[in-house]
Amino acid sequence: MTMVEQTQILSPTGPVLELRGLGVGYGRGENVLQVVHDVSLSVARGEALGIVGESGCGKSQTMLAALRLLPRGGRVTSGQVFLEGRNLLELSEREMRKVRGGGIALISQDALTALNPAMTIGAQMAEPMVHYQGMTRAAATKRCTELLDLVGIPGAAARLRSYPHELSGGMRQRALIAMAISANPKVLIADEPTTALDVTTQSQILRLIDRLRKDLGMALILITHDLGVVAGVTDRVSVLYAGRVVETAETQTLFESPRHPYTKALLDSIARLGDESSERLRPIPGLPPDPNNPVPGCPFNPRCSHVVPLCRSVLPELEDRVKGGSHPVRCHVDPYVEPARRLASGAAR
């Protein structure tokens, strides 16, 4: 089954955003540091996709590449990015600027650094409206006030005149969300939106994002290292490891029957509430992968408890040999699925 067919089955209504075989690297010529190898994902209109992985696995880089906002030295080395069928990588910078904000919007991780400390919230928020969408200042101010109300920031008028450092962490994050949705994007990418917040605020923000995307009909991509965050918010989840997708499934399925050893390990490392008798937190043994020194074969093999010799030499393909394509996994062993349920395939074991 080809990748294209897989993604089409996963998103039957036609994806609003689709990444195919995306690769991201830094540097040129001999010294290219590959941080994303071959990532394919898609998200449908109104759907919420979670992207989960350790820091450094390439999840943020993938999304920055889609927006063509990679930092200095970074390039897309392979693949395509389709927004409603248009390949974004082929657009001119001018056309791409129109896509940013209105087509795809980004909510960054740390709201304190993501807001310009020298500009008021109102000025930053209104900037694209006044200068690129042709609104008058009065109209922009009105819209900003609406947006702040929408994200649950009280006293909008005063807040617009405040500077970022005068707001609390939670309010800053809300302001950032308001800025992201201001141009009614089709896809909202939230990159670790809760990492810098305390636990109570975390759930508030998550619920806000969820509510907004349902109300405004946006697709949502939620990037996080914490599997607990995607539960209850996303429809599907893709797990990333060492710059590759290793498992994609519906959220419920991923939690109940994970198939990739890495996913299982991630689940095991989450504390379960109210379950004191259960196992203690089990961190994943070994070190995270180093993009400077990629290992041959499956990138997870040094830390995998189900490893077989094949894993050390051949990189597994992302495929689903069981359920008819809705739960692709990148693993030779596929240890948690009973052997009988596996479709016969040509590969010797």
Partner: protein, 316 residues
């Protein structure tokens, strides 16, 4: 904000005292007998003793310092024997000339320096960036007086485009245009070093800032590159640059000694050069004191301005 100003003001008072002490001590380290210096070696012992008494030179050092301070407060900086005038008068008459040159130079250095530094920072490693590095290297390696001489040579003597010295035309009616023509070369000479420092600082400051998250936020919302630089990057890069500009003001004031000498510009600097030739210690002391205190006050003003424009600092 007010408390910040008061706080900073209290901090600089000891420094200003220290400056007066240091300036006072300069006279103390002069080898030999001051009376000899002032009266010449032919004077009688009587005359010398009289002079010593009148100058309070027989008192212990701290008493002399107290007398010095007392006179300072009254505006008495001693007598310049080169100009046969009180030092304070010599300085006051020439202060505006030096200030004019210094202000013109700092404006030139800041405007071009910031522009060049920003321009280079937008494409780091490119030809324009390396070009700037070369120019900065040269400007930082040239003594200002040599640059001044070369400019005089080229523009004054060979091309005959600009006057070679002085503040006004010796012939002719003077006026603003003449003044400006006379200002061109000295201003460029004085500004060169600072221009290089400011350009380099701006470049590195912009580079620090351009990779910030908030720049990425603005870009992710479709804000164009020109606005990103002017409205987001530059304002956040400026605080570091402004501090440097404040420091350079002091450098300009002291560098005026060299530039004014080369161009015979009638400012404090030229007076100090003349004072050096004649070993007119009071005038040298007076000039150093005035410039150093001015530097401290300028930095104070810069700090206040910085805090005014940067809301985070004044709150802290």
């Amino acid at each position: 904000m007010l408390s910040f100003i008061i706080h900073r003001a209290l901090q600089i008072i000891p420094v200003i005292f220290g400056v007066t002490l240091a300036t006072f001590l300069l006279a103390q380290i002069i080898p030999g007998d001051p009376a000899d210096v002032l009266l010449g070696s032919m004077a009688t012992e009587e005359a010398r003793e009289q002079l010593r008494e009148s100058l309070g030179l027989n008192e212990p050092v701290y008493v002399q310092y107290a007398i010095y301070l007392q006179k300072l407060v009254q505006g008495d900086l001693g007598q310049s024997f080169t100009f046969a005038q009180p030092v304070s008068q010599v300085i006051l008459e020439r202060l505006s000339n030096t200030a004019l040159l210094a202000i013109a130079a700092i404006i030139l250095a800041s405007v071009i320096g910031v522009a060049a530094g920003t321009w280079a920072a937008l494409k780091p490693g490119s030809a324009r960036d390396q070009g700037l590095s070369v120019v900065v290297l040269f400007f930082n390696s040239m003594p200002s007086f040599w640059l001044g001489l070369v400019l005089i040579l080229i523009f004054g003597l060979h091309l005959r485009l600009l006057p070679v010295g002085g503040m006004q035309s010796v012939t002719g009616g003077g006026g603003v245009l003449s003044l400006m023509a006379h200002m061109v070369l000295p201003t460029i000479t004085l500004a060169a070093w600072s221009l290089a420092v400011i350009a380099r600082m701006t470049r590195s400051s912009i580079l620090d800032v351009i990779n910030s998250d908030y720049i990425r936020t603005a870009r992710s919302r479709g804000v164009g590159e020109a606005r990103i630089v002017l409205r987001h990057a530059l304002p956040n890069a400026m605080p570091a640059v402004i501090t440097v500009i404040g420091m350079q003001m002091g450098f300009l004031l002291s560098g005026a000694v060299l530039t004014e000498t080369v161009f015979s510009w009638p400012g404090i600097g030229l007076a100090m050069y003349q004072a050096i030739s004649t070993r007119d210690i009071p005038l040298i002391q007076g000039g150093i004191l005035v410039i150093a205190v001015a530097f401290v006050l300028i930095n104070f003003a810069v700090d206040v301005l910085y805090a005014y424009f940067n809301p985070k600092i004044s709150v802290a």
